[in-house]
């Protein structure tokens, strides 16, 4: 088989899975939004001009058509799905702007905060785990391992407010709110990095404990390697596999879970956009945001899947197994055990 063929065989099913996840999310969201009681068009008008608006039925029908909310459920579904494929997410009923515009406006800010939070969270975790693994005293190791769960336990608005009062009001180093200046990203990112890093750390430290108890780490230490070399060359890479899975999940969480932090720091962002859209029953914006989040989520999962073989050689496409030698010709040669390898491996493969 050619190299390209092998790669295609490996990647194609995962890309299909990606497309399926996005499509399924879209369909479920579409149905859910339609099942909700109340008329989104009326709700949108109420937001624009107050509750006691009287509406001309013809005007209402025109608005419906404009929003793609006319016709049967199936017609709506098909026409919106068609538009989606061309990159058109529709128009916001509440603001009259296109959904693509609205999302594109807030994505860079959200991306900066989420990306920085992920980097800070993961790096801090790795450093903490390294220290916890090489610390010479047991009490220090235990302490370092016990710290991160606090990151999950303390809610984001509390950490956010503490950070603001210290770094903005007392020290005056960083802006407390807004999204104009570049350094306004830092405090929200740190706030988000707490839960993100804590979740990652817990998965990571478990994987490290497991690697440290393994036979190959014993071999490495029996070889005379120091703690740092054992951690860097033997523990880290083996502990990475389960941890990368959790990074995929965290990216999904970051794509949609930033509303609280954006509110605390009064920033424009995906989270706040969706909150205001839900309050205004702005159907097309809700759908649009969910699609974008689903794409990010599925993309993260896809990348995680594709990264496995890079980290773990056992998951790389194998060469065809050598054919077991004919049973009739037996000879004891120093390599006789190679024959057992050919016959045992397939059994394991079959068990899966």
């Amino acid at each position: 088989m050619t190299r390209a063929g092998t790669a295609l065989r490996l990647v194609a099913p995962k890309v299909l899975q990606f497309a399926f996840v996005v499509w399924a999310t879209y369909t479920v969201t579409f149905l859910l939004v339609r099942v909700l009681p109340g008329d989104p068009v009326l709700a949108a008008l109420a937001v624009q001009s107050g509750d006691a608006t009287t509406v001309d039925p013809e005007q209402l029908a025109a608005l419906r058509e404009q929003a793609g909310l006319d016709g049967s459920l199936l017609e709506q579904y098909l026409s919106q799905l068609g538009a989606l494929l061309t990159g058109d997410l529709g128009t916001s009923l509440a603001t009259g702007r296109t959904v693509v515009d609205m999302i594109a406006g807030v994505v860079p800010g959200s991306l900066a905060v989420a990306g920085l939070a992920l980097v800070i969270g993961v790096l801090t975790s790795v450093v903490l785990a390294f220290l916890a693994s090489i610390a010479p005293w047991r009490w220090l190791r235990d302490l370092l391992v016990q710290l991160p769960p606090l990151g999950v336990a303390v809610p984001a608005f509390v950490t956010g407010l503490i950070l603001i009062s210290v770094f903005s009001f007392s020290l005056g180093l960083l802006p407390a709110s807004g999204s104009r200046s570049g350094d306004s990203v830092i405090l929200p990112a740190i706030t988000l990095a707490f839960p993100v890093g804590a979740i990652f750390f817990q998965v990571f430290i478990t994987a490290i404990r497991e690697a440290e108890a393994s036979g190959y780490v014993f071999t490495a230490e029996a070889k005379g390697l120091g703690r740092a070399a054992v951690f860097g060359r033997h523990v880290l890479r083996n502990a990475l596999l389960p941890s990368v899975t959790s990074i995929g999940l965290l990216i999904g969480y970051l794509a949609g879970g930033t509303a609280v932090v954006e509110t605390v720091f009064s920033r424009e962002g995906i989270g706040r956009l969706v909150v205001s859209a839900v309050l205004a029953r702005d159907v097309s914006v809700i759908q649009g945001v969910i699609i974008v989040v689903a794409v990010v989520y599925a993309l993260a999962a896809l990348l995680v899947d594709l990264s496995y073989p890079l980290i773990d050689p056992r998951l790389r496409p194998g060469k065809a197994a050598p054919k077991p030698a004919a049973a009739s010709t037996f000879s004891i040669v120093p390599e006789a055990d190679a024959l057992t390898s050919a016959t045992t491996d397939p059994k394991n493969g079959a068990a899966k």
Binding site: S214, T219, K223, I311, P317, K352
Partner: protein, 540 residues
């Protein structure tokens, strides 16, 4: 200065488990002469592995060395700062670990793992170290060492991995190599080659070896001196010939008597066997065949024939041993015989009835006649059930008798497998390995089956316990006239229990026949090789 490279005195090791302290090693003395091979022998729980790990000061996290001296080449290792200890680990003392399959880092190439030690201790440059690593792989008998150096551990078989680890232990010209059960995870033929390799290296380089093993046969074949441990203490020590061939100490004598490799005769039943019509086979399998499909990422599915036209018959009240190395297809054959797996072609006859295609309720009813005992007595019993519940479960499943009768029957079965009635209320976790396997046998007998399929029933047990369980099986067979299909890789066990032997290799039967004939005058080359590889045979 004397001629001992290693002298251990009053070594004590203990583990903290919760608030308790467990004394694993209670003050042992031990000496290894320069260039000599010493075997440290003991059953599980004797503390022998703790000793080997304590010598390089690398115990599990909750373990500590409580007292003692470990004098290596004139200096007490227990007093060295960690930094100098690391220079000795891998540099002057090599270590061959127990399980080759988990002892190499799966994410690093074989060559890189060897290079690490060479650069650290011999201060070689990268290129020089890489060259040396390739040479070492060649030295330990791997073909195409250059290609092997670039492979990952999962691409090598267990035996090849153990060779790599042996090469690693010897890579920096150590004065002492500690080998902790170096071949327990390997097939006998591979085990022999690997041990030969170690002995050769030790002789060529003049390295002293401390070999930790549970296998008296291995010790008898390879060591000049033997130290026997029990409950954390040395009970017997001296030259191999004196300790193993003319044992004076009671415990050593029991061990030697129980070791299948050293001493193998057919066990006889304690009572006269019930009369069975030996002519009629209780189980007959004909031309069984099973193919699995292998799926690998990025490769087309590939068929793999695990069992290829196997036929055999088990007479009532007799034992047929199905012998083979890992991957020979013996377990798959047994699973098809018990109708846990469905064959692709061929037929399974139980008591003359074709049961090959039974399904649903009919297949369930078949379980009354065919029961299975598995290798691992720790995994095959539900940890939340009491012993009585476990044994009575088959009776409950088939609605035989009321609750009280089932309990009475469970107690009767406990008695039959020589367990005290008081154990009925215990959970499996409170039992030893041997006791658990007895419970599993009692459960299998609850329905009075005609056939027991025993899949490596004693290979997880210590030799002395193994001996008792085998004797029990022989007695039960004589009492009840049940037929055994006995799967094993161990020819010592075959000798003790089999009436007929079937040798399998790569899915096919290589040779079959009466045990006496096959064991004394094997016809096939492979059978002969398997028999010769049994540890302890060199000594006889």
């Amino acid at each position: 200065m004397n001629d001992n490279i290693l002298e251990v005195s009053d070594l004590q090791v203990r583990y903290r488990v919760g608030r308790r302290r467990i004394e694993a090693v209670r003050g042992i003395d031990l000496a290894v002469p320069r260039g000599g091979i010493v075997a440290l022998v003991g059953e599980s729980g004797s503390g022998k592995s703790s000793v080997s790990q304590a010598l390089i000061r690398r115990l599990a996290g909750n373990g500590e060395i409580a007292a003692g001296r470990v004098v290596f080449d004139g200096q007490d290792l227990l007093k060295l700062p960690m930094k100098r200890m690391r220079a000795i680990r891998g540099g002057s003392i090599g270590f061959v670990p127990q399980d080759p399959n988990s002892s190499l880092n799966p994410t690093l190439r074989i060559g890189e793992q060897l290079v690490e030690g060479l650069r650290l201790h011999l201060k070689l440059g990268r290129e020089e170290a890489t060259e040396r690593a390739v040479r070492i792989l060649g030295d330990v008998g791997l073909s195409h060492p250059e290609a092997r150096a670039r492979q990952y551990p999962h691409e090598l078989s267990g035996g090849m991995k153990q060779r790599v680890l042996i090469g690693m232990a010897w890579s920096c010209e150590p004065q002492l190599v500690i080998a902790d059960e170096p071949t327990s995870a390997l097939d006998v033929t591979v085990q022999r080659l690997v041990l030969d390799q170690m002995q050769q290296l030790a002789a060529d380089r003049g390295t002293a070896v401390l070999m930790v093993t549970h296998d008296l046969g291995v010790a008898a074949d390879r060591a000049e001196q033997v130290v026997v441990m029990r409950h954390g203490q040395v009970v017997d020590a001296g030259p191999t010939a004196a300790v193993l061939h003319a044992p004076t100490h009671e415990y050593t004598r029991d061990l030697v008597a129980a070791a299948p490799g050293l001493n193998s005769v057919r066990l006889t039943a304690s009572a006269a066997p019930v009369a069975t019509e030996a002519s009629h086979p209780i189980l007959e399998i004909r031309e069984l065949r099973k193919t699995f499909t292998l799926r690998r990422p990025g490769a087309a599915p590939e068929p793999f024939t695990a069992v290829d036209g196997v036929s055999l018959a088990v007479p009532a009240g007799r034992t047929v041993a199905l012998v083979g190395e890992s991957g020979s297809g013996k377990t798959t054959t047994a699973r098809m015989a018990a109708r846990i797996e469905t064959p692709d072609s061929g037929s399974v006859l139980l008591d003359g009835q074709d049961v090959t295609t039974l399904r649903g309720e009919a297949l369930r009813q078949l379980r009354r006649d065919v029961q299975v005992v598995y290798q691992n007595p720790f995994g095959s019993l539900d940890p939340r059930m009491s012993v009585a519940q476990i044994i009575a479960e088959p009776l409950r499943a088939f609605g035989l008798g009321g609750r009280r009768e089932q309990l009475t029957e469970a107690k009767r079965l406990l008695d039959a497998v020589q367990l005290a009635e008081g154990l009925a209320d215990r959970r499996p976790a409170e039992l030893s390995g041997g006791q658990r396997q007895r419970v599993a046998i009692a459960r299998a007998l609850a329905l009075s089956p005609k056939l027991l399929v025993l899949d490596e029933p004693v290979s997880a047990l210590d030799v002395s316990v193994q001996q008792q369980v085998l004797q029990l099986l022989v007695d039960l067979q004589a009492e009840r006239g049940v037929g055994y299909l006995f799967i094993t890789h161990d020819f010592g066990v075959v000798r003790q229990i089999a009436d007929e032997v079937v040798v399998m290799r790569q899915g096919r039967v290589v040779e079959q026949g009466p045990a006496e004939r096959l064991l004394s005058a094997p016809e096939h080359e492979y059978t002969r090789a398997l028999l010769e590889a049994v540890p302890g045979t060199a000594a006889r």
